[in-house]
Each structure stands twice: as structure tokens, then as C-alpha cells.
């Protein structure tokens, strides 16, 4: 890629470079303006709030680092980190593989693709209020289809949403069902692989399987990379899934027995249900920001090991 290969612009810059700089800043100006107008202010304000005690109804009171030190003595902080990490570690591979598998299947099909694409995307469309009701039925311990299926194999179905040991697996299943967005991105990536590469492989007599490993997967690795980075960022901020389920079941937010106390759920309940704890909630949010930042860094740094760059191979 050009940006990587080209050396940094020298001190004496050419007319082209100056022109490029001006055009670049004109292009990204909307984002810079929007960032300063709508995002920077709230971000800085929240950074300030993280050093205060604040209940939103009175002016905040400066407490220095107290909120940050409090986190490390707070057992619920560690529980929420554990819940979130566990969910992330399992839900990312499960949902990415599901999305990838569906996209590849769709890419292989020639007829009725529109129907199948729509079918796989439908879960992403359904209103979350209705989806939550659907899932309380799907995972109903006695009358749900999942446990019905397990019974056929002689397995005792767990009491999904109220068993602290299984509830998170219920959520992982839900996230595998709702992969429409990732699937579409994979599909767009697959459509971008030039046919010429396959044609060349076919002349060489390669079968479907080798072709998949030698062409499709490497060519798709950068899409996979995008989805993976976004999944890491998104998964640590998991909120809606736990929120709508607990609303639909009138259960405790984060329950049963804190088994779904996702980091964001903890932040939310501190911020909006707690007393004077918006400052602490905000400090937790900034801690999460640092965690996600570090993880993203690791992913970016290791990406060269597993993301295939055609330009690098060709030198």
C-alpha cells in the first residue's frame, strides 16, 4: 500500500504534496468539525466528570483519583470484567465464523441468493423488543425449541436465562443468530475478490478446497481483520442484548447472580440507577477505553502476522 511504502513527505514539499494536504483537509473537514462540535466536548466533559462525585442534579464535586482507585477495590468491577471477557472470547469466534460461513455459502449459490441473504439478515431487522420476547421463548426451559431438541438427544436442557452457569451461553447463541451486519461485510469482501485469480487457479487444476485456502481466505483476511477489530471494540461494550433480555423478563439488570453483569451494564446501572455515582461510572468507562485501546493496539500490531497483504508479497 502506497502510504506504507512511500517515505514520509520530505521537508521541502512538492506542489503535489501541498495540494494533496489541502484536499485531504477539505475532505476530512466535516469529520473534524463534527468531532470538535459534537464529540470532543462531551468526551472532555466526561473525562472531567470521572474525577468527581456527581449525581447529575447538583454540581459535581472534585474527588481526584478516588474513582479510579475505587475501581480496583470493587469486586463488581472484576466480576464485570470477567463476564465481559468471557463473552468476548467466545462470542467473537462464534459470530465471526457464523457470519463468514453464511457469506461463503451465499457467495457459492447462484439462484435464489436474494431470498437466502434476506433470510440470514432478518434477525438484524427485528425490533429488539420483539427479539427479546422471541428468545425468552426459544430458550424457555420447558417449552422452548432448543431444550426440546436437547431432550430428543436425551440431554437435560438447562434453565437458560436464570441459571448463572448457562445464561451467558444463551447470549452467545443470540449473538450468533444476529450476525447479519458482519455477514454483509464479508459478502462485500468476497464480491471484491477478482475472478481472474480463480480463473488462474482453475487452469492450474486446483480444486475448490485448495482454492478456498489459497485464494479466498487470504484475500478475505483484511475483511476478517476489519470485522475482528470492530468486534473486539463492540464486544467489550456489549449492552443492548443484556438490557433488552432483562427488560423483557423483568429480571435484575446483570442477573442472575451477576452472571450477565457486563461492564457496560455495570456502568449503566451505576450512572443512572445509582446514587451520586455518575463520576465513578465515568471513571470505569475511561478504564474500559484504555483496555479497548490496548487490545486494539495488540490486534493492529499482530495483524501483519495473519492479514495477507498482496502488495507485500509482490514486494
Amino acid at each position: 500500500m502506497a502510504t506504507a511504502i512511500l517515505p514520509k513527505p520530505p521537508a521541502r514539499r512538492s506542489r503535489k504534496a501541498r495540494h494533496d494536504t489541502i484536499v485531504f483537509y477539505l475532505c476530512v473537514a466535516p469529520w473534524v468539525i463534527g468531532f470538535i462540535a459534537f464529540t470532543l466536548g462531551p468526551m472532555l466533559y466526561s473525562l472531567y466528570i470521572s474525577f468527581t462525585e456527581w449525581g447529575m442534579l447538583k454540581p459535581p464535586v472534585w474527588v481526584g483519583m478516588a474513582n479510579y482507585t475505587r475501581a480496583f477495590q470493587d469486586p463488581d468491577f472484576y466480576i464485570s470484567l470477567k463476564v465481559t471477557s468471557f463473552f468476548t472470547v467466545f462470542s467473537i469466534p462464534v459470530s465471526l465464523l457464523t457470519a463468514l460461513f453464511l457469506a461463503i455459502l451465499l457467495n457459492e449459490a447462484t439462484r435464489g441468493v436474494g431470498f437466502f441473504r434476506t433470510a440470514f439478515y432478518m434477525p438484524a431487522i427485528v425490533a429488539s423488543v420483539a427479539a427479546a420476547v422471541l428468545w425468552t421463548w426459544i430458550l424457555n426451559p420447558k417449552y422452548g425449541p432448543v431444550n426440546g431438541l436437547l431432550r430428543v438427544f436425551g440431554l437435560p436442557g438447562p434453565n437458560w436465562f436464570s441459571d448463572p452457569k448457562y445464561v451467558i451461553w444463551g447470549f452467545i447463541m443470540m449473538s450468533a443468530w444476529n450476525v447479519g451486519g458482519q455477514m454483509l461485510i464479508f459478502l462485500a469482501g468476497l464480491k471484491g475478490i477478482p475472478k481472474a485469480l480463480y480463473e488462474a487457479a482453475e487452469i492450474d487444476g486446483g480444486g475448490r478446497w485448495p482454492r478456498f485456502w489459497k485464494i479466498t481466505l487470504p484475500m478475505l483476511s483484511s475483511t476478517l481483520f476489519f470485522n475482528f477489530v470492530m468486534a473486539v471494540i463492540g464486544s467489550f461494550q456489549t449492552f443492548d442484548i443484556a438490557y433488552v433480555i432483562s427488560t423483557a423478563r423483568s429480571g435484575t439488570l446483570g442477573g442472575p447472580a451477576k452472571a450477565t453483569l457486563f461492564y457496560m451494564i455495570y456502568i449503566y446501572s451505576l450512572a443512572f440507577k445509582g446514587f451520586n455515582s455518575m463520576g465513578y461510572a465515568t471513571a470505569l468507562a475511561w478504564i474500559l477505553f484504555i483496555i479497548i485501546l490496548i487490545l486494539t493496539l495488540i490486534v493492529l500490531r499482530t495483524s501483519s502476522l495473519w492479514v495477507y497483504y498482496e502488495s507485500e508479497k509482490e514486494g
Binding site: W31, T39, G41
Partner: protein, 298 residues
Amino acid sequence: MATTTLTRAQPRNRVRWWQSRRFGNLVHDIVVYSLLVFLSLVFLFPFYWMILSALKPDYKIFLWPPEWLPHPALWSNFLAAFANPLLPFPLFFRNTMIIEIGMIAGRLISCVLISYGFARLEAPGKDTLFAILLATLMLPDAVTWIPRYILFSRMGWVDTYLPLIVPAWFGEAYAIFLMRQFFMSIPRELEEAAVLDGANTLQIIARIIVPLSRPVLAVIVILSFRDIWNDLRTPLLYLNEVTKYTVTVGLAYFNGQYDTKMNLLMAASVVCMLPVVILFFFAQRAFVEGIALTGIKG
């Protein structure tokens, strides 16, 4: 089985009939389509239950074993779901569409421009800006709800659609990141030719980049549409009057505090899904063509 034909068609000795191309294609298609049919049934099965529930009286929804065909089918549930004068769904639908169109148009236009800048142009400070862009995705938004609300409130934007639409005109990090990835895949040679013809940046974007990026633009339209369609919190936070509500907010009203009319909730949800399914069905066609053009060797 067309075994004989296949054997006869063997071009080389070492290729047996089961290794032949036609047989391979047949097996491939059978495998692909059985998987597709099976998986789509798995994915659609909950929706069947949803429609079923919409056609039943409330108390029958959770009966076991379920009535797989509702008799009698209570089509009146659909009327009842939309009969409440407090919940004018046609109006909610119109409101949602206003927000959708305003927001998606803004996001497409701004993000194409911004992503082009990040994908193609060299400038000092670019990488820092991009790092900040990525970082904005990493701060949980729950802690900026209140400061943002205060900001929009001071600007007098509360109880209008502006807080939902205007920020989209200034780009959105996820869409910018995704679009940038795709733009970088487009061969520069095409642009260079256009530059020689005297095209400026906007013309290059409009004539070359956009037509070549149809799949990713479709992805962004579809995902943005869903963002608003499923967003409950932002409209609840910023809109005060019922006449300004969106469809999702309207659906939340079915979740009563002490009793939820499940059948009506399901009926309303099914109807509210239909336009989105139709929209998706048409939008996904953008995947068929588009990138075929980019098989150009550099």
C-alpha cells in the same frame, strides 16, 4: 445418474468420474443448497413463531405443544395492534423515514468524502486523525449521553430531529473505517486516467469511486438504516412529543409495566418489519454487480 456421460467426458486418465467437473459441480450445488435451505429454516423458524403468536389469543402463545397452525387465525390482532389512537403508527413510520433519509443521505455524502481523504491522500497529521477517529469508537457512549444531551439542549435541539440527523452529516467512524478499507482496494490507475482528463477530486469520487463501491455503499445504507430502526434510546431521550416518535418507540409502548399484550406486540412487530425486509431485499441486489469491474490487473 449421469455416470456414463461423466466417465466418457474424463479428459485425463487420473481423473475419475467423481473427480470430474460436472459431478463436482452437482455435489457442490447439492451441498450448498441443502446447507442454505437448512440454515435459512433455522434462521427463519423464530419468525414463524412470531407470526404464529401474532395470530393467536394471548393465553395460547406459550402453550405446549404449540399450535403450529393457529385456528382460528385472529387477523383482528393486526387491527387491534394499530387501533390505539395514542399510538399513530402511520405517523411513527413517516417520522422514522424522515430521520432515516436525512441521516443516511448525510452519512453517505460525508463519509464518502472523508473516507476518500483517508484512503487516498497524503497529508501531515493524517495518521493521528485516523487514530483519533478509531479511538472515538472505544469510549462507551453511556457516559457521553448526559453531556451530549446538555449540549443539544443548550443548542435548542431537544424535541427536534436535529440531534438524530445532523451529526450524521459530519461522518461516522464505523462507516468511515469500513469505506476507507474498500476505497483502498480500487486501483489508482483508474483515477490517474481521470486526472489526465482534467477531473477534480469531486469528479473522481463521483465518477470512479462511487460507482465502483456499490457493495460497500449498500452495506452502509443497510447498516445505517438498521441503526435508526432499532434505536430506542436516542429518540426517547431527545423527543418529547408523541407525534414525533419513531416506530421502535411506538413498539416499546406495548411492553406495559404490568401486562404485555404479547400477541399485539408480535403483530405490530411483524408489520413494522415488512418495509425493512422489502428495503433490504432491494438494497442487497447491489451485491450482484459492482465489483466485477475491479478485476482489472494493475
